[in-house]
Amino acid sequence: MGDVPKVAILFGFGINCDRETAAVFELAGAESERVHVNHFVNGERDLSEFHILAVPGGFSFGDHLGSGRLLGNRMRFAMREQLSSFVAAGKPIIGICNGFQVLVKTGLLPGREVPDFEQRASLTLNNSGRYEDRWVTLEFDPDSPCIWTKGITRIECPVRHGEGRFVMPSTTDLDELNENNQIVTRYVDPTSEPGKGITDETLPFPICPNGSIRNIAGICDPTGLVFGLMPHPEAAYATFLHPHHTRGEVSEEILAEGMQIFRNAVEYAQANL
């Protein structure tokens, strides 16, 4: 491919973080296009035109019947082959917040080497029973195969969800994820030493904002190409979006730590696709 990877940003049906997600990929050096889900469903467009796929946050179909379920179904039944080919071609996919919920409900996450579109996990109502917008601290598994998070130890960014508690049917399922280093990112105590914050014991509210098992904030598939997370790194793309930006002197640099996730994928596409 050329130097500028093309990113498909899904939109329509209540996806609503499509504009900022498109913007951060552009700022990371890619070319973004917001493409309505139905363009792929009705065959006017094909995922193969793109190098990266992003399923942004939002409230697809109002999250009625469970977050991400109805959009997940549309993709599972109407875009199955395109998605399979996309994954088989080794192209990265990210799902953020509602997009993560969609990828989990389609079965792409935690997934198998070859997608079988079986749902194995779920994201359900926060223990607090409330939707909340608050900033969290995330740490990343340095040994994860996830291509999106290379070189990142810790970032801060907001969560904005009512259904972010990650669950799987059994402890064995979680152990298996852990052994494969698929538990890419977790909520950690901001006062812990960077690199040493990760723990299996569920941290108290609001450090772990939703009661997620093992503080899981995001996971990847076994290949490390498909990545989903509840928090919003794109909402931390700029220094002036951090709630503490007035606590120091004015920063000349505009781009912030949330950008690294998107840069990683752009660089991966440039090197491998």
């Binding site: 329509g12 009625h64 002036f240």
Partner: protein, 988 residues
């Protein structure tokens, strides 16, 4: 698995009523009517209706009867579903999902949702009927329940009663005045006698009669379609008749006796138009759905604020949700379509801990708060529009009528790809008119007038509507694409008055239209012609499209799965012409429809109210007063509520509602950087101070404007480009038997308008859009509750660079300064209300905060914004309710640090005035040591007082000269401030 839904109900019963139930479990139900067999549905239930990882599904059987899931029979079971005709959003989504799996479900397939709660371990004395009442609103929902041993409740579809189209009725207006008024009252037309007589005269005009004969309409009498259409168009809601009225005003204090020809034209429109002549950035004022300013060469911004008070009183959830999604549509309907990028929400409620009596048919304020909050939360969050600023104000009188103000800001490219200016609508005769989005139903008929109805359990569901954010979001996505493709020549939203208003108003551009009601898609069959024309069913835009663009427009609608129906054409006939299939059902001259309403003549008389003087106790422990003040609902943290709004979707919010070390300190104004990658900013702020009306509504209005400006100044706003929105909520100011004090209430309105004009001119804030809601009363006679006259002033303005801004949290090493002067102004202050409620003082009277020299304030605001824009000030907080004492406490909370300040200083105010007084124009500022000299130089000549220092440690000390007046622990202040409005019943 934990049942979070059930747990939430359990916690809420504890928080609101002190009732502890052992366990609450929830079951989500779907009622399906389709051509798919139960067995087939069962085989795919886990694909649509249940999540196989966390839920159990059952088809055609009750979970409650499953001994494995419910080994023990619950004490009580309550099942809640929507009444027929009420918007069921989950049901709609479920049907969509159902069709994905079963494309052959059939055209008539229906899915409705319901929720069942099973209660275990219910304490004695809790009745199941009471429990059901807490969980549903009888106006829109039905509840079935059972006790242990009884059969479980089962919800079923109500049978559909078919009804047929009937031709419109003819209304004989050649009757006595008495009978004219009877027609108006019984028909819910809300027209006065003079207006009815004007309509009567229209149908006696021989020219009108011969024109009607030619169209086949009854010659000398209106059809019900015409009468309803006139009633809607001429309603207070649409024509703002009180603001347009001729007023005879008397001031008994000064002896003034004057005539005012329209408060709006005199005090709002004229000043704004004069300011428009002085600047080049006011693109569109007053005539569109919102006012538009040029933000830079490439982009324009618009803003609108609306109220949705009466609907929110009846169904707090649905009323508030339609409020927020409705004002979003005002933005989408501005120019050729703007994109909403931020919401603001300001609510006025009764006290959430109200223990007194509640009038018949009114909800407890805590329930109004929960419902309104939930509606705005769902409406804003699901639409992907951040709520960046707002306020919640409490006063006993809002029990009678809560105020729900929803505001939205929008952005547009100044020029569309085809070169047209986006803020100018340009339809031509011959353009097709589409209705886009939702369908028309019984919901929302007579929305503008129903507040005068006595509401009961049996009230029709038509009185209340529930918004559908996802239908609206799809429509919004589609319309913005259509705009950029150059397919739109004119657009407006369908709000009050429905199609009659939206098409009727747009028809003024081409001087005529022809609507075919037979083409309008309906939710239910059987609506009569007038009902289709005036229904306020939600999520609809009216869009005009050139004939050549029709295929492209319809293709976009298909792609987005949005219903777009050709329902009318623009003409140049001068007539508002309505047909229903073959029949002409209405024809009204455009001019008569829009300009025919006669001007009201009203009487106004001002006499200052008598309030017992606020006399603070001679001895007081100000430390404990501070702790009490921090728990006052008007001051306490609203974090529980505000945190449930998404305030940073779109990744642009540079100053959020929460600031500081623990991100829980108060943000003064919202600051946005709407263009990704750019630091160019937009400020959004609000000002509201209704209790000052108890002394003088003029002072109330001045305070609202100053507060909005002050909050914006705290972010470092560009004061050369700020614009305002005046949003008046008043009790009925027309003197009548029902309202014997109407003259006084109108005088309050006159004074508020005069001060609004004076301050806006001084600050150079043009009012570019506004709204009024003039009937905020409950009941009659001695039991009548009237709201305090309330002006919400919303402001949006330019900001050069969002990195150069401040927040209210103190930072280590800062010195503290007060910009502005403290005067002896304790009248109607929060401390006066607190101490008079507790009996420690007599009343709230005295000097209310005023702005005698706003030009002077503006000078200091300009100096301060200059300092902020240069990066030398990173901390600022405005002083409002609770004065300096509360402001500095909030700054310590945000910074999680101590401070030592001395309130002794210039001016004549005593200690109470300096500590608790709410004098306007004051901002507390923190400046680091290294920037002090530059700061002092920038502020030279302005009223500035050195107050003290940020301290290490955890104590706020306030001195009055040598006397230590307040010594408070910051952690204790945090608990006091955050505790009183928490209302969650605990998080975990």
């Amino acid at each position: 698995m934990r049942d979070v839904r059930g747990d939430s109900v359990k916690r809420q019963l504890t928080a609101d009523h002190g009732i502890e139930i052992d366990k609450v479990r929830s079951i989500v139900g779907f009622l399906i009517s389709s051509e798919i067999s139960a067995a087939e549905v069962a085989s795919r239930a886990d694909d649509v209706f249940a999540d196989p990882i966390i839920e159990e599904s059952a088809t055609d059987s009750l979970h409650l009867s499953d001994k494995e899931l419910f080994p023990q029979e619950p004490d009580m079971v309550v099942t809640i579903g929507f009444k027929p005709g009420v918007t069921d959003n989950p049901g709609k989504a479920a049907l969509d999902g159902f069709r994905t799996i079963f494309p052959n479900a059939g055209d008539d397939a229906r899915v409705s949702t319901y929720l069942t709660y099973a209660f275990e371990g219910v304490p004695d004395g809790v009745e199941v009927e009471w429990l059901a009442k807490q969980l549903h609103n009888g106006l829109i929902e039905r509840a079935l329940y059972s006790l242990k041993g009884e059969e479980y409740p089962v919800i079923e579809y109500a049978p559909i009663t078919p009804s047929d189209y009937a031709p419109p009725a003819v209304v004989d207006l050649e009757v006595t005045d008495e009978e004219l008024m009877k027609l108006s009252v019984e028909g819910l037309l809300a027209l006065n006698l003079e207006e009815m007589q004007t309509i009567q005269a229209h149908y006696m005009n021989p020219e009108v009669r011969s024109a009607r004969a030619a169209l086949g309409l009854p010659e000398n009498a209106p059809t019900d379609v015409e009468l309803e259409c006139l009633a809607q168009t001429w309603s207070e809601h649409c024509k703002h008749k009180i603001f347009a009225a001729h007023i005879h005003h008397i001031d008994t204090e000064t002896g003034e006796d004057t005539e005012i020809d329209s408060l709006f034209k005199t005090h709002i429109m004229k000043p704004t138009l004069e300011m428009k002549d002085e600047v080049d950035w006011l693109l569109s004022v007053f005539h569109d759905n919102s006012g538009v300013i040029a933000w830079d060469d490439e982009w324009s911004m618009c803003m609108k604020a609306e109220t949705h008070n009466s609907p929110s009183a009846l169904d707090p959830y649905g009323g508030a949700m339609t409020g927020i999604v409705g004002v979003n549509r005002d933005i989408l309907g501005t120019g050729l379509g703007a994109r909403p990028i931020a919401n603001t929400d300001v609510f006025c409620f009764g006290p959430p801990d109200w223990k007194g009596d509640l009038p018949e048919n009114l909800f407890h304020p805590s329930r109004v708060l929960r419902g309104v909050h939930a509606g705005v939360r769902v409406g804003g969050n699901e639409s992907g529009i951040p709520t960046v600023n707002g306020a919640i104000v409490f006063d006993d009188r809002y029990i009678g009528k809560p105020l729900v103000y929803c505001g939205t800001i929008g952005i547009m490219p100044r020029k569309l790809p085809d070169g047209r200016e986006s803020h100018v609508k340009n339809p031509d005769a011959g353009d097709r008119v589409y209705m886009v989005g939702g369908r028309v139903g019984y919901d929302g008929i007579h929305g503008a007038t129903f507040s005068s109805l006595e509401l009961t359990e049996e009230s029709p569901s038509s009185a209340v509507q529930i918004g559908d954010p996802i239908t609206q979001k799809k429509m919004l996505d589609m319309i913005l694409e259509a705009r950029d493709a150059g397919l739109i020549t004119c657009i407006t939203d369908n709000g009050a008055g429905g199609l009659s208003s939206s098409i009727g108003e747009m028809a003024e551009y081409t001087n005529g239209c022809r609507i075919d009601l037979g083409k309008v898609p309906l939710k239910q069959e059987g609506l009569s012609s007038w009902e289709i024309l005036v229904s306020e069913s939600q999520e609809r835009m009216t869009v005009a499209v050139r004939e050549s663009d029709v295929p492209a427009f319809e293709a976009l609608a298909d792609l987005h799965e949005v219903e777009a129906t050709w329902v009318a054409d623009f003409t140049d006939t001068g007539q508002f012409h309505v047909v229903h299939g073959e029949d002409t059902v209405a024809s009204l001259p455009i001019e008569f429809l829009h300009d025919g309403v006669p001007q009201l003549r009203l009487e106004s008389e001002w006499a200052p109210p008598n309030n017992p003087e606020f006399n603070p106790p001679s001895k007081a422990n100000h430390s404990s007063l501070l702790m009490r003040m921090l728990t006052r609902p008007n001051i306490a943290s609203k974090e529980t509520w505000v945190r449930q709004y998404d305030h940073e979707v779109i990744a642009q919010t540079a100053v959020k509602p929460f600031v500081g070390v623990e991100r829980d300190g108060p943000g003064d104004a919202g600051l946005l950087a709407p263009i990704h990658g750019s630091t160019h900013g937009l400020v959004v702020s609000n000002g509201i101070s209704p209790r000052y009306s108890d002394i003088d509504a003029g002072a109330m209005a001045a305070a609202a404007v100053d507060e909005a400006v002050r909050n914006a100044v705290c972010t470092g706003v560009d004061l050369s480009k700020i614009a305002g929105l005046d949003n008046f909520c008043w009790p009925d100011p027309i003197e009548s038997k029902k309202t014997p004090d109407g003259k006084f209430k109108l005088a309050q309105l006159v004074r508020a308008n005069r001060e609004l004009e004076r301050i806006c001119r001084a600050y150079f804030v043009p009012c570019i859009s506004g709204k009024d809601s003039m009937k905020n009363d409950y009941g009659t006679g001695e039991n009548k509750i009237s709201i305090p006259p309330t002006l919400l002033f919303s402001l949006f303005g330019n900001h050069h660079d969002v990195r150069y801004t401040t927040t209210s949290d103190l930072k280590p090493g800062e010195s503290l300064y007060l910009v502005g002067e403290s005067k002896q102004e304790l009248g109607a202050s929060e401390i006066s209300y607190m101490l008079s409620e507790s009996g420690e003082s007599n009343g709230i009277g005295g000097e209310v905060p005023r702005l005698p020299n706003p030009e002077k304030n503006l000078e200091s605001y300009k100096a301060l914004t200059k300092a902020i824009q240069s990066g030398i000030v990173r901390t600022a907080h405005d002083c409002s309710e609770g004065g300096i004492a509360v402001a500095i406490a909030e700054m310590c909370i945000g910074g999680r640090c101590g401070a030592a300040i001395d309130v002794d200083g210039p001016g004549e105010a005593d200690l109470w005035g300096r500590l608790w007084g709410e004098s306007l124009g004051r901002i507390l500022v923190g400046v680091k040591q290294e920037h002090r000299a530059e700061f002092l130089a920038t502020m030279k000549g302005q009223p500035l007082t050195y107050m003290g220092e940020v301290t290490e440690g955890n104590t706020l000390s306030v001195w009055d000269g040598d006397d230590l007046i307040i010594e408070s622990n910051v952690d204790e202040m945090v608990s006091a401030w955050k505790g009183s409005l928490d209302m969650t019943g605990g998080v975990q």
